[in-house]
């Protein structure tokens, strides 16, 4: 493929960056602009156009609430509101104040027959209810805190 075609890789380059950092840090984008030759304005345009790209550091666990039709009809807007309150996410923010969870609205996962669907980390939860979500998120939070405690303790010893 010739030179012109390399611009095709802009989206793929951004995907790789995001895989490495979890989001798109400004410095990395400026670096990419220098290396790849695409102006920063264009990179920024692409990065802000697509849902996948994030310009802010996310929480440790990503919670995506499906906003597809079936999920909407089956009450996922309620689940979303519930999660905002339960995770104590300030208006206009997407990360919980303990930095553990990011919450986002997602487009259809294509599991509409299990609506409403919420994804916590890489686990899909079908027929989600606030009660169920509360249980699962508490478990995830505990396991993260436990891991951190273990790592912290291990760090002290060495």
């Amino acid at each position: 493929m010739n030179g012109e075609r390399n611009s095709a890789n802009l989206i793929e380059s951004l995907q790789k960056l995001q895989e490495r950092y979890g989001f798109l840090p400004k410095d990395a984008l400026m670096e990419l602009s220098k290396d790849g030759g695409a102006p920063l304005s264009r990179i920024f345009g692409v990065a802000t156009f697509y849902h996948q790209f994030k310009l802010e550091s996310p929480g440790k666990v990503l919670i995506s609430v499906c906003m597809g039709t079936a999920c909407h009809l089956r009450g996922n807007a309620n689940n979303y509101e519930f999660l905002r309150r339960f995770l104590r996410i300030a208006p206009g923010k997407s990360v919980s104040d303990d930095g553990l969870f990011s919450l986002e609205k997602a487009r259809c996962f294509g599991c509409c027959s299990l609506a409403p669907v919420v994804r916590v980390g890489d686990k899909l939860i079908g027929k989600a209810t606030p009660r169920e979500l509360q249980k699962i998120i508490s478990q995830v939070r505990e396991s993260i805190l436990r891991e951190e405690a273990v790592r912290g303790a291990g760090g002290d010893k060495t």
């Binding site: 039709t69 294509g110 509409c112 027959s113 299990l114």
Partner: protein
Amino acid sequence: MMRQEYWTLMDPCCDYCLHSASNPCVKYVVCRVRGPFCHKSVMCRNRRQQRVKEVLYGPQGVRINVGASSCGLATGAEKVLEAVKDNLRSMGVEAEASAVGCLGLCFMEPFIEIRSEDGPSPIYGHVSPDNVGEIFAKYFEEGSVDGAFAIRRRTGRFKDEDKVPLLDELDVWRKQVKWVSRNCGVINPESIEEYIVSGGYEGLSRALMMKPEEVIEEIRLSGLRGRGGAGFPTWLKWKVCREQPSKEKYIICNADEGDPGAFMNRLLAESDPHRVLEGLIIAGYAIGASHGVIFVRAEKPLMAARLEKAVEDARKWGLLGENILGTGFNFDVRVMRSAGAFVCGEETAMIAAIEGRRAMPRQRPPYPASKGLWDKPTVVNNVETLAHVATIMAHGWQEFAKYGTERSRGTKMFCVTGGVKRTGAFEVPIGTTIRTLVCDIAGGPHEGRKIKAVQIGGPSGGCLPEKLFDLPIDYESLQEAGAIMGSGGLVVIDDSNCMVDVARYFTSFTLAESCGKCVPCRIGTKTLYDRLSAIVEGLGDPDDLRLLEEVGTTMKDAALCALGGTAPNPILSSLRYFKDEYEEHIVGKRCPAKVCSKLVTYDINRELCVKCGLCAKSCPANAIIKTDDGFFAVDQLKCIKCGTCFITCPRDAVEKR
């Protein structure tokens, strides 16, 4: 390199077989299952036939299929597969456990099927790690199929066979035609060998023996129209592209399935990825392209992974790459993951995304068939369309054209979700009525509910009321009624849903997804959304209905691409059929379905209340007060109608009125 653990049908049977990617044999595909053809050897033939049996029923003669596509995995199929293996081991049963795709019967996920050559092949639904043991004990120890959802055939050799319905007798199966989805939920999608045993790549073999023009003619005769929504004749797109003088051409597989409520492409590509790939190679051959791109939606990673595996395997065995099957045809494919934007489903936007730009559609003409990717002639075909191409080339156009209507031939997959008993993906001949699909196959409404409408075609489609359910589902009939076939998602709306809220929901979707390039869509979606929001909040004005209609019609006429042009469909169609619900919101200031929270009053039912006080604690407006007798009550003057108490109450004692 991966170590070859055992001999497969893809491998040479003996030293006579010289096929390899660098030295291709034209009979490679058909030879795998029915061969060998290049030399006479009873041993080689037996070896092949023995292996075919092993593929179908496992080396031990019994094979347990576990449905493991995204929907199955979401309901815990992974753990079920583990449990199946554990139980086989602990019971000492010799059988193979295999992950397969999705049968489309999502309402009973996760499922397993026990297959053996002369067995009844029972299918069990709602399987969990806890009941696998029980199922196996009954089947392997008692020889009973009791508890199965259905069996594929009656053998008379198992107990309780007459207690379990035959799959072909069930409404959910009987009224379907499994044409393009025949392998879904049957074969292991990650095994090219299983696809070959099911007749895979024979369509490609046949196509490569024909002239490209003859392939186009075959597709013309079949009457296949694009399954992505617009229904443009596939052969015509191909012909226009073929006739372009350019040496370089591209074929793109549109796997950016973004309509909420539609997942047939995901299901197909996850359950039978080689069929999609085969269709893509045939399309590439027909138009004269040497490069293909599969553009996959970001939210469907398993689909991308399975397609990538299929591409890798096809390349390994010389079905992709240079001089495919010795015919001199060169073709290669790359799988690209979208970064997520609904508008990518529009072909010129998709091309922009593949070129690494913002996905903004452009004016057509020129159509991509003459000026597309990198300004070269390009054909964009949907996943299901390509899977149909592969199937038509394998079985002949006559078989395909048997189904469907005069103007729209063949079958189409539909995803039925929302307020029905049996949600899932079903394949029916085009022209099947909405009633057959929704009431017979999907089982009708939940107990105590009434179906009000069905929303066809996602955010670009329309809402059709129950009284139109005898309408045949084909491109023209739906368009006349104000909806579109779209990709084939049917969301069933029952009396617990509010039509205005549904219309607002779709507009919020298109508002967020509008790329902002053209004025009618950018400003139109915002205006529609604002007015609908006012209506559901009780601030609507009788003049709003006229405004909605006017803005909607303008968008239809003037928007640049299909996203903007179809965005008002959900509103215009619900205005046409459910005007009374809009008026009730605007004039009566109430929501008949009790969905729009601003038009609902909350009250606490004392008979259900357990005095836990969670509602009062969670109320952000402190509008819930403790009464003298210990119960709680809502202060309607303070209530901001956020609905928090309704969600929080553990006993469902908060009621809407």
